[in-house]
Amino acid sequence: MADEAHTFKRLVVGLEPRASDRAMRVAVDLAELLHLELLGLFIEDPSLRDLAAFPFVREFQPMGGGWRSIDLDRLTDDLDIAIRSAERVFFGAAKDLTTRYQFKVARAGAAEAIASISRLGDIIAITEPSTPAMRATRHFSWFLNAAFHSDAAVMLAPFQVARVKGPVVAIALEPDDPSIRAAAAIAVAAKENLIIVHGPEGKDDDPQYRKLAAETGLSITHAFTGNASLSDLTTYARVLRNVRERLVVAARRTLEPELALALVSSRHVPVLVIVPS
């Protein structure tokens, strides 16, 4: 019953050269919980190869490598290694998955790649960059924008995940907020409790909540922001002070990409931003 409450079909994991095993594990666990097909997508920026055509463009390697000129052959090798590394991490994490999983390399711009691959019912998982330097690159913002402009839901995962057990939190603007049913479906699958965070207008006495609890058998707790806005990051720090959640679910209209990213950074748990069907 609860399994039918969500409409997700596939989880698309955006892969990068230095993918985090643990963040990958979170994506795989969610795919297993919700019986989703899993696609590992490595997007290779085609303009990277153009860099070799600029004799004055150099590559800086932070781990002691320093500056060096860009050679096309070596860049190609580096890219191949990065793809194989991401593929290995992906298959390592997905090997016990009971649903279908595959790995793909898309050589296109992020927007084109996402647009051509994603569809309704997808969740696109993006891992938070490990350093501010990575975040400053074109690559991350490029991917983030593409995901949030697609029809798919977006799961932002922290580079280091604080916990993989705990209640599922739904941030709801109203009783029929799609985040509630999605969060309930995940909570049922994970055998966790559900916490609903209500905005300033929220109430906990809506019959829909009782119905949901009755249908799913979930233990539902309600938390209120009072007069504080749901678009303020500090609100969540206060409301979720004593909560050790494993996942936060919100609708796209509730969490803008930047806020979602900030929530991931502060809570160290994945945030799933869904699109109303």
């Binding site: 303009s47 600029f54 800086f60 932070p62 490598g65 860009i70």
Partner: protein, 832 residues
């Protein structure tokens, strides 16, 4: 045929003479050689002197009975504190020395103070050397409990404080400041680049700066269409931005270090806040023990510096490898309760029955972690020496000598004056893993070593260190005088044993028989055995008999049946030996008389049961060089003492008969049908009688058996096992039918040892068997031949016809034969 030739051909003794007596000998010994009266064959207990009806009326007696010498030694040893005055307690098996010493020590120990408790704790400065802490008696367990509770409290407090909002806020603030600092630097760079149409591109291994248009990298073809000055400007801009990027990257380690330092300080502050109160509370209970306070303070510093950091790492989901090796992070704050004097009063008395090295001086155990053996201070285990420290340690000498390294380790510990746990597996190279060197613990111990006398004497001879460490000898007596007072004392001991084992009380007559049995065990009518274990065995068996007969008291009959049953169970070999004699397989005559043949007596002891048996001893003589040949010795079946006894015979003969002529005798002595070794000299008088009979050509009575050793003057000396020997010959005679002439010659000195079986006494009382005490060979020869040995007259010659006269004549004849042989040889030489 010459004499020489005849002797050679016949192979018999020469000269051959007719025996003086061929058939029956008329026994008419003088008054002093009469058989012993029945009263001297067994000493009954004077039950009238035992002032009780049953042992239930007797006061129990603990400790040492009849062991004044040992008691004095024990008291001296326990009261002298100086090093080396440990005790070596020796005595017979079954004397229950340990139990007796324990009883004495119990009094001493209760008057002494309980020794200190000891714990081992982690050494924070050098983890391989755990620290030993001494606490007043009974405080160690409280310390352990307090620390355990403290750890529980700290776990909760630290966990709570590190999960608190305050901490998370402070921590997040630092992280965010760091991220912000980096982020701002990169954002500034990104924005600065964007203003100049440059983008930061992520490459597989790093970053690059590239010309951009609308946020996308400009295709190279398009870039090449740009004017030269614009392309040059882009190039210059990128070079400047590269410097900015490099600058930011170079600052990152410094920012990261600053972040770590700030977080470490926050962790310290947070941990301090969490641990201070629980630690103060723990310290309050031990303000009077500075060493404990020092340890807790060290622990506080370690908690703040190290553990808090590890907790934080765990919270972040990054396990600390070092913490994994140590097991639980908090384990190092636990207390290893090593020795706790919780129970009882006074000094401990510890008996270690299995003194293997580890059981004795303690050991370091290991646990397997991912295929490797690891250890820590909590795996240090106390040995018996630790548990007994400040009191008494009781060890069995045989057990400790049988255990590899234990004896040496004990001596080393006594010499050092401190207990150092030695990991023998490491010394021997059996393990190569990291081990510990725990703090040694000062030794203040009195060791009691129990063993056979043989062990003590051997160790004293072979191990000079033994007497250095065990200066006090406590030698337990095997028996004590059988006085009325001592009989009463032993009766109380019997009563105590019965009570201790939950046995029925004994009636007075039953106790009387137990005392008589104690005399028999002592091999002396005038003594009582102190080998308590043997008495206890009989009591248990008598109790069994009484219970079977549905009585609630042990009667004399029950004790008697127990003694008989014990013999019956053990006597299979004796019965087979007697059967062989009765079936003429082993030849023993119990009637008639023979020249050069006599019944000797020997004792066989196997598995604690001893029985006597007659053995035929024969002798043949001929002219020779004065040599008495012991055939047992020649074939290496005779032991040295036996051989000595035979050699004494030659001395006796030479001293008595060869006063004016050289000994020209060759005599051979043999234990007939003896196929095992023969040891001891108790048959030497029998051998002498056989030799004298052969020389005198006078037959010896076969209805008598003989025991006793003899010296060169012909005096018969005491031997052991007299009761068993008499009973052994009696059994054969009784089986064939007692004739009234049968009996045994025993040394006069052994009369006091007689505690004979009831059937032997009855036969003697009825005149059907006799025990003859003999003081010298002449008395014996008179009993055995019916002829006087004879004394030298004023002319120096023995009375004609006496045994001695016949022997001397025979020896002279041998000498004459030898001289004639010598002359013949000289004649042959001159003729040549």
């Amino acid at each position: 045929m010459s004499v020489k030739a005849a002797a050679k051909n016949s192979g018999e003794e020469f000269p051959k003479r007719e025996p003086a007596v061929k058939s029956a000998i008329v026994i008419s010994p003088p008054q002093e050689l009469r058989a012993l009266p029945v009263e001297q064959l067994y000493r009954k207990t004077d039950t009238a002197s035992l002032k009780f009806s049953t042992t239930a009326e007797l006061e129990p007696i603990d400790g040492l009975v009849g062991q004044e010498r040992a008691l004095e030694a024990i008291r001296f040893g326990t009261e002298v504190d100086q090093a080396g005055f440990n005790l070596f307690v020796i005595g017979p098996n079954g004397a229950r020395m340990q139990a007796a010493v324990k009883a004495v020590l119990a009094e001493e120990a209760s008057a002494r103070l309980r020794p200190s408790d000891w714990v081992y704790v982690h050494n924070f400065a050098d983890p391989d050397k755990p620290v030993a802490i001494e606490l007043p008696a009974g405080r160690a367990r409280a310390f352990q409990t307090t620390m355990h509770k403290l750890i529980d409290d700290l776990k909760t407090a630290l966990s709570a404080v590190f999960q608190s909002e305050d901490y998370q806020t402070r921590r997040s603030a630092i992280d965010e400041a760091f991220q912000k600092k980096q982020g701002e630097a990169f954002s500034a760079l990104r924005d600065k680049a964007a203003e100049r149409d440059i983008v930061i591109v992520r490459t597989p291994l790093g970053f690059a700066l590239a010309p951009a248009k609308n946020g996308e990298v400009v295709p190279p073809d398009e870039f090449n269409t740009w004017p030269d000055d614009k392309r040059q400007e882009v190039q210059t801009t990128i070079q400047a931005l590269e410097k900015d990027l490099e600058h930011i990257i170079h600052h990152m380690p410094q920012w990261e270090k600053q972040r770590r330092d700030e977080i470490r300080q926050v962790n310290r502050d947070t941990a301090k806040y969490a641990v201070n109160q629980p630690i103060e509370e723990a310290e309050n209970a031990f303000r009077d023990i500075p060493r404990v306070l020092r340890h807790i303070e060290t622990m506080r510093a370690d908690l703040v510096e190290n553990v808090a950091v590890s907790i934080v790492k765990g919270e972040e989901g990054v396990p600390d490898p070092a913490a994994l090796n140590d097991g639980n992070l908090f384990d190092r704050y636990e207390v290893n309760l090593f020795v706790a004097q919780d129970d009882g009063q006074g000094a401990p008395i510890v008996e270690e029955l299995h003194p293997a090295l580890g059981n004795l001086i303690g050991r370091i155990e290991y646990v397997q972690v991912r295929g490797a053996l690891v250890t820590n201070f909590r795996l240090i285990k106390a040995g018996a020496i630790h548990r007994a420290n400040g009191g008494y340690l009781l060890l069995d000498a045989r057990s400790i000598l049988l255990e590899p390294f234990s004896w040496t380790a004990l001596k080393r510990t006594l010499r050092r004056g401190e207990i150092a746990i030695e990991d023998i597996a490491r010394f021997l190279g059996w393990t190569s893993t990291v081990s510990l060197a725990p703090d040694p613990i000062p030794l203040k111990l009195k060791v009691f070593l129990f063993g056979d006398r043989l062990f003590y004497f051997l160790l004293a001879a072979l191990d000079p260190e033994m007497t250095e460490h065990f200066k006090v000898l406590a030698d337990f007596e095997n028996d004590f005088a059988r006085t009325p007072e001592n009989e009463a004392l032993l009766a109380r001991l019997v009563s105590t044993l019965a009570r201790r084992d939950g046995l029925m009380p004994l009636e007075r007559d039953a106790v009387g028989l137990v005392l008589e049995h104690a005399s028999r065990l002592a091999d002396h009518a005038g003594k009582l055995s102190l080998i308590v274990e043997q008495a206890r065995d009989v009591l248990i068996e008598a109790h069994y008999n009484a219970r079977k007969a549905k009585r609630d008291i042990i009667l004399r009959l029950d004790v008697d049946d127990a003694l008989s049953a014990r013999i019956r169970r053990a006597a299979r070999l004796r019965d087979r030996v007697q059967e062989a004699i009765l079936e003429q397989v082993a030849l023993i005559d119990t009637a008639g008389a023979h020249v050069g043949q006599i019944n000797g007596l020997s004792v066989t002891e196997l598995g604690g049961f001893a029985f006597g048996r007659p053995t035929r001893i024969t002798c043949r003589v001929r002219p020779g060089t004065g040599k008495v040949v012991d055939i047992e010795r020649e074939v290496e079946l005779g032991g040295p003492i036996h051989s000595k006894g035979v050699l004494i015979l030659a001395g006796f003969l030479a001293g008595r008969y060869a006063l004016d002529t050289p000994m020209s005798l060759f005599a051979s002595l043999v234990f007939e049908q003896s196929y095992a070794g023969v040891e001891g000299d108790s048959a030497s008088s029998a051998e002498l009688y056989a030799l004298l009979s052969a020389l005198a050509d006078v037959p010896l009575r076969q209805d008598l058996a003989v025991t006793g050793s003899v010296n060169q003057h012909g005096e018969v000396q005491a031997i052991g096992g007299v009761n068993e020997k008499i009973e052994g010959f009696f059994d054969i005679c009784q089986a064939r039918g007692l004739t009234g002439s049968q009996g045994v010659l025993i040394p006069q000195a052994n009369v006091q040892h007689l505690m004979l079986r009831e059937d032997v006494i009855d036969a003697c009382a009825a005149g059907r068997f006799s025990i003859y005490p003999v003081a010298n060979v002449d008395e014996g020869i008179m009993l055995l031949t019916g002829m006087a040995a004879g004394e030298r007259g004023s002319d120096g010659a023995y009375l004609q016809g006496s045994i001695n006269s016949r022997i001397e004549d025979r020896l002279r004849a041998f000498a004459s034969v030898r001289r004639s042989f010598a002359r013949g040889r000289d004649d042959d030489r001159s003729g040549d």
